[in-house]
Point group: C2
Chain length 493, copies 2
C-alpha cells in the first residue's frame, strides 16, 4: 500500500502531502512574508474577537477538509494575524524578518528532532556547542557552559536555580526546608520573569528585593548594598543578584561593574539579564554599555529580539567550568542517556536541561550568522542605534512630543500631548487626562491597521508610548510616518 501522510487510509499519500506543502509554501511566501513586509499593506487587520471567531470557523470536527479549503485557511490565518514582520510594527521587542533565519526555522521544522542526544541530533548538538562558545567569547568568557532555552524567562529561571544549587546543593535533593530563607535582588524596572522565577522555584515573590533605579531606569548600586544589608538583618541569605542590560520599557543598562563589585564582596551569584540588550556586544561602538558583564557568573541573551533570529531563540550562558549546569539539573534517565554508547557520551547534553524533548533553536541563529557574519550582525545593531538617534531628533523637533527619559538604547519612551493639553501641565486633572491619550491613539491605530506600538504606565508616570526601533528594514520615511500618524490620530484628543 502507498505510504500514508495521515491516518486516513488511502486518502493522502506522501506525494499528495508534498504537493500540499509546496502550494502552501507559495501562499505563506506571498501572504505571510511578501505582503506582510510591504509597507503599503496593513500591519494588522483588526477584528473583534467575536467577529474573528466566526470568520475563522475555528471549531474542530470529526471530518477532514479539502486541499483547497485548507489552502484558504492558510491564507485566512495570515490575513488576520498581526504582521510582526511589517516595517510599522513597533509593539514588542522583536520585529522584522531575516530570510536566512527563516530558512533555518523551516529546516528545523522539517527535520523535527530533539536536542537531547548526539544520536538523534548529531549536527545540532555540535552546532549548539559552537554557537554557545561563540556567544560566550563575545561576552568575554573563554570557557564556560550554557544552553538554549524556550525564552528569556526560562533562561532567567535557569540562572536562579543554578545559583541556588551553587550556594546550597542540598536543595536539589532535600528542598528548601533545609536551608535558610533565600533572598534575590533585582531592580524595580527589571523584567517580571524575576518574580515568576522566584514564585516557581519555591522562593516566593516577597523574597525578591526590588532595588531602586535612577530616572532613566538604571539600578542604584548604593540601594543594592542597602537592600542586601536589610535582607541579612531580616535573617535572609542573599544568593542572587540580577542586573539588567537593556530593561524592557526604558532600555536601561544597569551599572554592571559596580554591581559586580558588590556581588563579589558579598559572595553572591551575579546574573545579567541581557535578554534585550545583550546584542550590543556585536557593536564596537556600543558595547561599552555592557562593560562588566564578563564579571558576572551567568547571563541571559535573546537573539530572537534584537538580532531577529525569530521566536524562540534564547540562551543561558555561564562562566562556570565545573559542570554545575549538569549537576544541578541531571536526572540520569537510563532510557535516554545510556552509559554504554559507542560515542563520546558527554555530547548527550540533554540532561543539562529541565526539559526532555528540546526544540532545536540554534540553527536559525547559526545560518543567519553564516549568511551575514558577525560584521552583518554588528551593522544591524549600529543601524538600529542610528535609526533611534534619527527618530529622537525628529521627535524633539515636534510640538507635543515629550521624552520620558533620554534614550540609552533603542527604546524611546515618550508622551504625545494633544493640543488640548499643551501648556496645561499644572492643571489638577492633567495627569489623569494624559493617561487616557495613549490608549485611544493605540485603539485608533490598531483599528486602522496603520502601525502598532505599545504603551504603559511606569512608576508613577502615566501611560506613555514605548517605541522600539530594531529592524534594519526600517528607513527614515517609516519613522517620519510614525510621528505624523501619532499626530493624525491624537490631535483631536
Amino acid at each position: 500500500p502507498p505510504r500514508m501522510s495521515n491516518g486516513v487510509n488511502g486518502h493522502h499519500n506522501s506525494s499528495e502531502g508534498e504537493l500540499f506543502l509546496s502550494e502552501a509554501f507559495k501562499v505563506i511566501l506571498e501572504e505571510a512574508v511578501h505582503k506582510a513586509t510591504d509597507v503599503k499593506e496593513k500591519v494588522c487587520e483588526w477584528k473583534d474577537p467575536e467577529e474573528l471567531r466566526v470568520l475563522m470557523d475555528l471549531e474542530l470536527g470529526d471530518h477532514g477538509e479539502s486541499h483547497q479549503q485548507l489552502l484558504q485557511r492558510v491564507r485566512d490565518i495570515a490575513r488576520y494575524s498581526v504582521k510582526t514582520n511589517h516595517p510599522r510594527f513597533f509593539n514588542q521587542l522583536f520585529a522584522g524578518v531575516d530570510y536566512h533565519s527563516l530558512t533555518g526555522r523551516f529546516l528545523t521544522e522539517a527535520l523535527n528532532t530533539s536536542q537531547y542526544t548526539y544520536e538523534v541530533a548529531p549536527v545540532f548538538v555540535l552546532m549548539e556547542d559552537v554557537v554557545l562558545r561563540k556567544l560566550r567569547s563575545l561576552v568575554g568568557w573563554s570557557e564556560g557552559d550554557g544552553i538554549f532555552c524556550p525564552g528569556g524567562s526560562v533562561s532567567n529561571m535557569y540562572a536562579m536555580n543554578v545559583a541556588r544549587y551553587w550556594a546550597f546543593p542540598q536543595v536539589k535533593t532535600q528542598g528548601l526546608w533545609t536551608v535558610p530563607r533565600l533572598a534575590v535582588f533585582t531592580s524595580q524596572e527589571s523584567h517580571y520573569s524575576m518574580k515568576k522565577s522566584a514564585a516557581f522555584l519555591g522562593i516566593g515573590t516577597e523574597n525578591v528585593y526590588h532595588v531602586k533605579v535612577d530616572e532613566s531606569g538604571r539600578m542604584i548600586p548604593e540601594d543594592l548594598e542597602a537592600k542586601i544589608v536589610h535582607a541579612k538583618s531580616q535573617g535572609a541569605v542573599p544568593f542572587f543578584v540580577n542586573a539588567t542590560a537593556g530593561t524592557t520599557v526604558q532600555g536601561a543598562f544597569d551599572p554592571l561593574d559596580r554591581i559586580a563589585d558588590i556581588s563579589e564582596r558579598n559572595g553572591i551569584w551575579m546574573h545579567v539579564d541581557a535578554a534585550w540588550g545583550g546584542s550590543v556586544v556585536f557593536s564596537k561602538k556600543h558595547k561599552h554599555l555592557i562593560a562588566g558583564m564578563e564579571r558576572a557568573n551567568s547571563c541571559t541573551w535573546n537573539p530572537h529580539k534584537m538580532l531577529m533570529a525569530g521566536l524562540q531563540c534564547s540562551v543561558f550562558l555561564m562562566r562556570d567550568t565545573t559542570n554545575l549546569l549538569m549537576h544541578c539539573h541531571c536526572a540520569n534517565a537510563t532510557y535516554l542517556f545510556q552509559q554504554d554508547k559507542f560515542y563520546d557520551m558527554s555530547l548527550d547534553t540533554g540532561d543539562k536541561s529541565i526539559q526532555c524533548g528540546r526544540k532545536v533553536d540554534c540553527l536559525k541563529l547559526w545560518l543567519m550568522w553564516k549568511a551575514i557574519g558577525a560584521q552583518g550582525l554588528a551593522n544591524r545593531v549600529d543601524i538600529a542605534f542610528a535609526s533611534t538617534r534619527y527618530f529622537v531628533e525628529e521627535l524633539k523637533k515636534r510640538e507635543g512630543f515629550q521624552v520620558v527619559s533620554e534614550p540609552q538604547f533603542v527604546n524611546v519612551c515618550f508622551w504625545f500631548i494633544p493640543p488640548s493639553l499643551r501648556g496645561k501641565e499644572n492643571s489638577p486633572d492633567y495627569q489623569e487626562k494624559l493617561a487616557k491619550v495613549a490608549p485611544v491613539i493605540k485603539e485608533r491605530m490598531v483599528k486602522k491597521g496603520s502601525m502598532m506600538v505599545g504603551y504603559q504606565p511606569l512608576d508613577g508616570r502615566v501611560n506613555f508610548f514605548r517605541m522600539v526601533i530594531l529592524s534594519p528594514q526600517l528607513n527614515h520615511s517609516d519613522l517620519d510616518f510614525f510621528l505624523d500618524e501619532v499626530e493624525r490620530l491624537g490631535n483631536d484628543l
Copy 2:
C-alpha cells in the same frame, strides 16, 4: 533606499531574501522531506563527532557567505541529520511526518508572533482556546483551563506548581519556608520529569516517593496508599499524585480509577502524565486504557508524540474553573497586560504562563485536525495499535526474540538473544552477556544507517530494545525488515 533583509547595507534586499527562501524551500522539500521519508535512503548517515565537526565547518566568523554556499549548507545539514521522518526511525516517542502539521509549522515561523496577548496574536489566542477546549472535552471535562507549554516536562512542572498553589497559596509569595515538607507520589517507571520538577520547584527529589509497579510497569495502588501513610508518618504533607498514562519505556497505563479513589480520599491533587498515552482518547477501541482520567485534576498530553504534530506541541489541561492557573502564575506586568485596553482583556492569557514570549504551538495541531478530522486522528491511533499487534505476533514467531512484558500500547520491549546465548539462560554470565547485545546491534545499525531503535536497562532487567510503532506511514514490510535486520546485525554475537 531599498529595504534591507539584514544589517549589511545594500547587500541583500527583500526580493533577494524571498528568492533565497524559495530556493532553500526546494532543497528542504527534497532533502529533509522527500528523501528523508524514502525507505530506500538511509535513516542516518553516521559520522563521528570529530569528523562531522570538520565536514560541517561549523565555526562562525566575521563575514557572510554567498547564496550558493548557504544553500549547500542547508543540503549538508539535512544530509547529516537523523531522519526522524523516515519509516525506519523507531528511536523516540515521535516519528514520521504530517504534511499539514508541517505547513502549520512553516506558517507559524513566517508569522513569528508570541502567544501572550490578543493584540499581537488574535488568531492564535482564539485558536489555542478552541484546541484546548476540544482536548478537554475529549478528556471528559466540559469546563476547565489549560495552556500550551514547551514540552511535556514543563507541562508536568506546571501541574506540580499549580497543585502546590492550590494546597498552599502562600508559597507563591512567601516560599516553601512557611509550609510543612511536601510530598509527591509517582511510580517507579514514571518519567524523569517528575524528579526534575521537584528539584526545580524547590521541593527536592527526596520528597518524591516512588510507588512500586507491577511487572508490566503499572502503578500498584496498594503501594501508593502505603507510601502516603509512610510519608505522613515522616511528617510530610502529601499534595500531589502523578499517574502515568503510557509510560516512557513499557507503555504502561496506571490504574487511574483506583488512583483517583485514593487521591480523593486523601485530598491530594491528582495529575495524569498522559504525554505519551493521551492520544488513545481518540480511539473508541482503545480509550478504555485511560478510563478514570476525567477524575484527575489535571493532565499533560503531547500531540507531538503519537499524533505527529511536530516538536514542540504539549498541553497542560486542568479541570479547575476558579482561574487557578492565572492566580498561580500571574505577575501583572503593566507593559504587556495593560488594564485599559479596548478589547476583552481576559483574552490576554499570557500571564497564565511562566514564560513571557511564548511560541505558537497550537496552529500545527489545529491545521492537521482540520485536514483529517478527529476521525483521521482516531484512525492514526488505531493503525498504530494494529501495526504493533502485527509486529508482536511476527516477533513471537521468531526464535531468539523475547518480549520483556506483554505490550499494552505501541511500545514493544524485547530482547534479542543471539544464537550463542540461546538455551544458556541459567549460565552465570548470561545476563552480563545479554546486556552487551543491544548496544552492539545499535552501534551497527546506526553506522550502517539502516534503522534506529532505542534500548535501556530497567529495574534489574538488562538492556533490552524498546520498539515504538506510531507512524501510519509504516507498513508490514518495514516491520518485517526491522526483525530481519536485528537478526542480521546480531546473529554473530
